[in-house]
């Protein structure tokens, strides 16, 4: 049974990582490099949008991504802990290191 919750945990983890990495790729390699010239036609204040993504915007998004990850994973860990405790009653107890 414990294998089951471990398996679910890992799959949920992979899903979170893949989603966040797609955003990571889109803002940096997408907006900052591949589509930078197209985005430069849009202006916000003194910034051309592509240039802003390349030199500042992507970094702000990176920070947000890690904090979203922290939040989602903390929740996932808590769920995993609850599940394993439930399943491990009378089981070997899953050493808590």
């Amino acid at each position: 049974m414990s294998d089951n919750s471990a398996h679910d945990y890992w799959r949920a983890n992979i899903r979170i990582v893949l989603w966040l990495l797609s955003v990571w790729f889109l803002v940096s390699f997408g907006a900052g490099i591949l589509f930078v010239d197209a985005l430069d036609t849009i202006r916000i204040g003194g910034f051309k949008l592509g240039f802003w993504f390349a030199q500042q915007g992507s970094i702000f998004v990176f920070v947000i991504l890690i904090f979203v990850y922290i939040h989602l994973m903390d929740k996932l860990d808590d769920k995993f802990n609850r599940d394993s405790r439930g399943e491990n009653k009378g089981h070997d107890g899953g050493s808590s290191e």
Binding site: S28, Q55, I59, I66, Y69, D74, D77, S84, S96
Partner: protein
């Protein structure tokens, strides 16, 4: 008070602080020496990681490089921050769960092989040495300019200080010194940036001043438009447009990101926190602390460039400001009156351009160029030293642990006691400091360029091996070893060929797919992955207990 007196005050105060911390945090066991006892709070580790990470290159050279590269400078900004997303999502939590001391520890245990461990030791030592030379050189530049001592003497002073707290305290000393060094360096970077932003745009937040209008004293108009206009007028490339090919920028950015995530001195910082959750949190804090500097740097780059052009263009040489003359003595700025009119022509055309400006002075001299108070100018020196020394210490620790722990204790001399291991670790740091100092005094190239190579090598060797080790349960020693060797040899060969054997051929026409040596690490990463994934199909799968390790590191600790 003069700049020099202020500099002495700041340097003495900060060095005193570092030495005080070193004495307070002496390491008594290998656990303390290697991972600071594993009890560093996430916030403190975030600061330490930021200081560990932000090197002389980030502090002294990066804004200057961007200043001259314009939009192309983006690869430094995105590459050196985007790697943290990879680190936080793909490496840090799992490596913390694995819970040993070093990166070769992970490679050696995960790939159940002494060969793999020794290859990792070799890669860690080469990467860290390449990187540490840049730090020593950076420290030398700061000393020679601000304290007006010889570069050699400057490097020697830097070596002594690092030696003192790294040898005494190991990771424990380094961690708490780095927390202090982060505070010093971020203060030193932000104060002049805020001053200049207020001066030029009236906005105290440099990140916003970057996109704002200049004050009337600077001629009004948006800063970036103005900079583009001046650049065009003088025949320089347009600042907000790219010169390099898209694929080159793409590959350099990727190489710096993969490299960031694969640098052993950054990875081991995550071994020092208490658990997996703390490892994730400290990766978040680390990137916040880093982003403060990294989002300010492009603003500083644009301010500094505008200011430099405004100040020197068509200026009569006889009436140059004082900072110009002082920096001339260090040869970081030089004037050659080609047309003999006694004025400085600073233009894009190398035939008629009369002014040579070293990139490094864009940050170091920026406060002076903007006419900021002396104490602000002096602050930059303390910040540059904090950046250089904090990174150097982290790198030296990697070299030392690779030798004492992975090479001696885990490979060739398993019988040594903990006390002996600790002694060997200290001897190894001592020798490493000497070698780094030598290369600091006889440096191979620009600070940031040298460092860029370390990233290519880390990207091509460690990053794929670690990621596969976590995410591919069936990855075996044959695949990982073949991948690391292929990636490292290819990347090192490409860089050595174009930079040392045949530098005349180092241009876009001869590059593979138009990818410069800075970006070739990405190809190295791909080669590593391809080789590893191919070899694993024809070789036996890893033993059961290793597969269990992989299962185990994927799950969080039960609480």
């Amino acid at each position: 008070m003069t700049v020099q007196i202020w500099t002495y005050i700041f340097v003495f105060l900060t060095f005193g602080l570092y030495i005080g911390i070193a004495v307070w945090s002496r390491a008594g066991s290998t656990n303390e020496f290697y991972v600071a006892g594993g009890g560093v709070p996430p916030l403190a580790n975030g600061m330490a990681t930021a200081a560990d990470w932000m090197s002389a290159a980030s502090f002294i050279s990066m804004a200057g490089l961007i200043s001259f590269l314009g939009r192309d400078g983006t690869f430094y900004l995105m590459g050196w921050t985007g790697g943290y997303v990879l680190l936080a999502l793909l490496l840090a939590p799992y490596l913390r769960k694995f819970g040993k001391f070093t990166v070769p520890d992970f490679i050696g245990d995960r790939y159940y092989s002494r060969t793999a461990r020794l290859i990792a030791v070799f890669c860690a030592i080469v990467i860290s040495f390449v990187y540490v030379c840049g730090q020593m050189q950076g420290a030398g530049i700061v000393f020679s300019r601000f304290l007006e001592v010889d570069i050699t003497v400057g490097v020697l002073i830097g070596m002594t200080i690092v030696f003192f707290y790294a040898v005494l305290g190991g990771m424990k000393g380094i961690t708490y010194t780095q927390v202090a060094q982060y505070c010093v360096l971020i203060f030193a970077f932000m104060v002049p940036a805020i001053f200049i932003s207020i001066l030029m745009t009236g906005i105290p937040i440099p990140q916003l001043g970057f996109g704002a209008e200049l004050t009337d004293a600077f001629g009004g108009g948006y800063l970036l438009d103005r900079l583009d206009g001046m650049s065009t007028e003088l025949g320089f490339a347009v600042y907000t447009e790219g010169q390099r090919s898209t694929q080159d920028v793409f590959f350099i950015t990727a190489a710096l990101m993969f490299g960031t995530a694969g640098l052993p001195h950054v990875i081991i910082r995550f071994f020092t926190v208490p658990n997996v959750r703390a490892a994730r949190h400290s990766a978040g804090y680390a990137l916040v602390f880093i982003a403060i500097l990294y989002t300010t740097a492009p603003a500083v780059a644009a301010f500094a460039r505008t200011n430099l052009i405004n100040t020197v263009d068509n200026l009569e040489y006889a009436s140059v400001p004082e900072w110009f003359t002082t920096w001339e003595t260090t040869n970081l700025i030089s004037f050659n009156d080609k047309n003999g009119d006694g004025r400085i022509q600073y233009v894009g055309d190398p035939e008629t351009n009369e002014l040579n400006v070293n990139r490094d002075i864009m940050v170091l001299a920026n406060p002076e160029i903007a006419g900021l108070p002396n104490w602000v100018v002096a602050l930059v020196a303390a910040g540059g030293l904090a950046a250089a020394l904090s990174t150097a210490a982290g790198l030296l620790l990697v070299i030392s642990t690779a030798v004492s722990h992975d090479m001696l204790k885990r490979s060739f001399m398993p019988g040594i006691s903990e006390k002996q291991e600790l002694l060997y670790a200290r001897i190894a740091i001592f020798v490493a400091v000497l070698i780094a100092g030598y290369f600091g005094i006889n440096p191979p190239a620009y600070v940031a360029q040298v460092v860029a190579f370390a990233f290519g090598l880390a990207a091509a060797s460690f990053f794929p091996a670690i990621v596969l080790g976590i995410f591919q349960k069936r990855m075996n020693k044959e695949g990982a070893i073949a991948g690391m060797i292929a990636g490292f040899v290819f990347t090192a060969g490409y860089i050595v060929y174009f930079r040392f054997i045949n530098p005349a051929a180092d241009n876009a026409e001869n590059w593979l797919f138009g990818i410069s040596p800075e970006g070739i690490g990405t190809v190295g990463t791909l080669i590593n992955l391809a080789v590893a994934l191919t070899v694993v199909r024809f070789t036996p799968e890893p033993p059961l207990e290793v597969q269990e390790i992989v299962e185990d590191i994927r799950l969080p600790e039960l609480t």
